[in-house]
Amino acid sequence: MLEPITITLSINGLDTVIAVEPRTHLADVLRVQLGLTGTHIGCEHGVCGACTIFLDGATVRACLVLAVQADGCFVETVEGLTEAGDPALLALQEAFCERNALQCGFCTPGMLATAIELLREGRPLSRADIRERISGNYCRCTGYQAIVDAILHAAAKLAELEMA
């Protein structure tokens, strides 16, 4: 094994100094080295979307970012978004329950991250917009219909909050 490299990450608001091997991707660092298992790993080549997290405020595939590349960046995972009470996440969590938008839950953290980024754009959404955006996230349980319902529902709730 080669000498690990020490990097600094802000993870869910916490500055974290950690030694990583250059070959290790961010999803493994989060899960294996830091125990943040809310970030799921399905394919490790960018196709399934289960590992989607926020890096410097934009969604990325955690399996396609080497941890060393992320040195100095802000990382937000589903755990942190929950604790921070992110309004888009709260609306989505309620809507996902209400509309049965998860069964096994494997795809859910990635779906949530993808949906949060879409909702933050704050534009009116059609079912087609939502389908297009979640096209990079596989769900092997729900058949997607319920997930599209839930995201639409959350968007409506957020719009209502904004009006109030």
């Binding site: 070959r23 595939r61 990079g136």
Partner: protein, 300 residues
């Protein structure tokens, strides 16, 4: 799967990146957005000893409009992300073909990290941007320790993942003439899932003559039909041939694709299917660029 052990160095300047490349030679690989390289590392289809990260180089950033003797040129830095292309007003105004194409490049989370330069340098035959670069007559700016040279798109793509970039060189930017008066872009691709690599795709820019199916100039470039993007010359000739009757021109151009394309067969689609789909796309994109009603064009 997990990537093989390797070393990693983040370059702080273009000069340092070039020096690192020189020092480590064939053992090293550049990493930009990593959206093609990291999957290959994870699958151990690539296993370099050394990764040189060019992600922090300011010299490779930014989209700029340059005035070269009255003619405007748009210059896109190699590290500009797909997401930045999608958001850019200058790209929409001066290279609108790229704005149409970027919607088809991968998924949002991948577009946030994948880079324009990485896509051009990776030269995947199914990728959108190399085809656009060829249709727009773009020029690639390639730096080595000795000099920066400029290579035209038509000389740049050499085969499957093969380009004019030599060992020790870095693609720093791509530039293209801004779209001229009367020219219009058209783009379409067929993929099994939105964001996946295309089964067949077409990037086109041309200057149509009002009320006719005739073009004063047209550049139709197909992708995912060979080992590199392919300029359909025979079809373009017919679309620019005033001696052909207006109501048969598109059909003849579609038929001429037999001369332009010889697509490979693979488990996704046979050669004949790809050729058929290429004809369908040509009909649709030409109709769109000509602003014809749906009924006026026919799928092949």
């Amino acid at each position: 799967m997990k990537a093989r052990d390797c070393r990693y160095e983040r370059a702080r300047s273009l000069q340092e990146a070039l020096d690192l490349l020189h020092r480590h030679g064939a053992d090293a690989r550049l990493i930009a957005g990593g959206q093609s390289l990291v999957p290959a590392l994870n699958l151990r289809m690539a296993a370099p000893d050394m990764l040189i990260d060019i992600g922090a180089l300011d010299e490779l950033r930014g989209i700029r409009l340059a005035d070269a003797g009255g003619a405007k040129r748009l210059r896109i830095g190699a590290m500009v992300t797909h997401a930045e292309i999608a958001r850019s007003r200058d790209v929409a105004l001066y290279a609108p073909l790229l704005s149409l194409a970027v919607k088809h490049v991968a998924h949002a989370a991948i577009r946030n990290r994948g880079t324009f330069g990485g896509s051009i340098a990776h030269a995947d035959p199914s990728a959108e941007f190399p085809a656009c670069a060829l249709a727009l007559g773009a020029r690639m700016h390639i730096a080595s320790r000795a000099e920066t040279r400029v290579v035209a798109a038509e000389d740049f793509f050499r085969g499957l993942h093969e380009t004019a970039i030599l060992p020790g060189e870095i693609l720093i930017a791509v530039d293209m003439a801004s779209i001229e008066e009367g020219f219009r872009p058209g783009f379409a691709e067929l993929a099994r899932r939105s964001g996946d690599y295309a089964l067949v795709g077409l990037a086109l820019q041309g200057k149509p003559l009002r009320g006719r199916t005739l073009f004063e100039a047209v550049a139709p470039v197909f992708f995912s039909v060979g080992d590199r993007p392919i300029f359909a010359r025979a079809a373009a000739q017919i679309l620019m041939d005033a001696s052909v009757a207006d109501d048969t021109r598109i059909r003849l151009a579609q038929a001429a694709l037999t001369d332009d394309l010889n697509p490979p067969s693979d488990p996704q689609a046979s050669s004949a299917t790809r050729l058929h789909l290429a004809r369908v796309l040509l009909g649709r994109v030409v109709a769109e660029v000509l602003e014809m009603g749906a009924g006026e064009s026919r799928d092949a």
